[in-house]
Symmetry: C2
Subunit: 192 residues, 2 copies
């Protein structure tokens, strides 16, 4: 999506890791109008997939997931990273490894909101090593639901997550795929 690539080039900062920092418009400060456009574009790509529910993970996936849900007119469920006193009842839970923080964490959804009849679209702001999405796929499996695909704003194509998910048969649509980034600049994968 050219508008997203242009925005990354204009505002993205490359930090050690390498981390692509897009906090000015995507996941700390959020350009609400632009987020709605990103969500609508994901909805367009999955418009024929019979999506009944969107699943994301707190926190930075929530905005684009809601934008996509509003365009598809389906509910959005976010997996919670901690068990809080507001989560009650039976839970599906799984463990996700975070490379960013070097720790494992548990994510949960309440069973009543994910059912065997659901056709689930996973939405997130970033795809890198794919661990968060694998965790969400595990929750979907536990519910006996079907994963129709993943809709991602920015994929780090130089990490293995996207390739692995696609090899395993998951449809993955990323609005921008960064194949290389360094202090010399960013190279995007051409859209097919």
């Amino acid at each position: 999506m050219k508008e997203l690539e242009d925005r990354i080039l204009a505002e993205g900062k490359i930090l050690p890791g390498p981390v692509l920092k897009v906090s000015s418009f995507l996941n700390h400060q959020m350009d609400a109008d632009f987020i709605m456009e990103l969500g609508a574009e994901l909805a367009r790509r999955y418009g024929d997939a019979g999506v009944t529910k969107i699943l994301t993970i707190e926190s930075s996936g929530i905005a684009i997931a809601v934008a996509c849900g509003a365009a598809l007119h389906v509910p959005v469920l976010f997996a919670k990273k901690h068990i809080t006193s507001n989560v009650s009842g039976d839970l599906y839970q799984t463990i996700v490894h975070s490379y960013t923080h070097g720790t494992d964490y548990t994510v949960v959804v309440e069973r009543e909101y994910l059912n065997a009849e659901d056709r689930v679209l996973i939405v997130d702001d970033f795809l890198a090593n794919g661990k968060a999405i694998e965790g969400l796929l595990d929750l979907i499996r536990q519910a006996g639901a079907e994963a129709v695909g993943a809709g991602i704003a920015i994929e780090k194509g130089f990490q293995e997550g996207g390739a692995k998910l696609r090899e395993n048969g998951l449809r993955v649509e990323s609005l921008a795929i960064v194949d290389e980034m360094s202090e010399d600049g960013i190279r995007f994968r051409p859209e097919t």
Copy 2:
């Protein structure tokens, strides 16, 4: 807002605390279309306030904040609960006490996204004791920005947060105010 009161009556569950659980449409599973309506209604109420930025706190305020931001065409900033490796540079930070979890936590925003010129609308899903909003007000003060008000989906009118904020001169608009709740039912404050 009658649609919100009706939805609370139809789907809300009262748990010990008392906690009003609205996880079926507001803050775990989210009815994306309805969230957009709630955001648009908050935008309508603050449409003449010259809002330049919306500030919320992760995670459950993000959806309605983005909906409001899309209606007002202003950026949305969310305060982060932990310092992650993706937060760099100079930060405004403050400490918030959580009654729900019985702990204090630090919330931060990056300085570059909150400026002395900003007229800030705080948006959140719930207002109870008001500690989260006091924390956000502190961040706004640190930036030298102006808080034009708070826009809340559900206020627990039987807790002191809303009254205290209004006594201190903050405009607070809550789409539904629960004045009493028990196993016998829910009583809303009439709209004025």
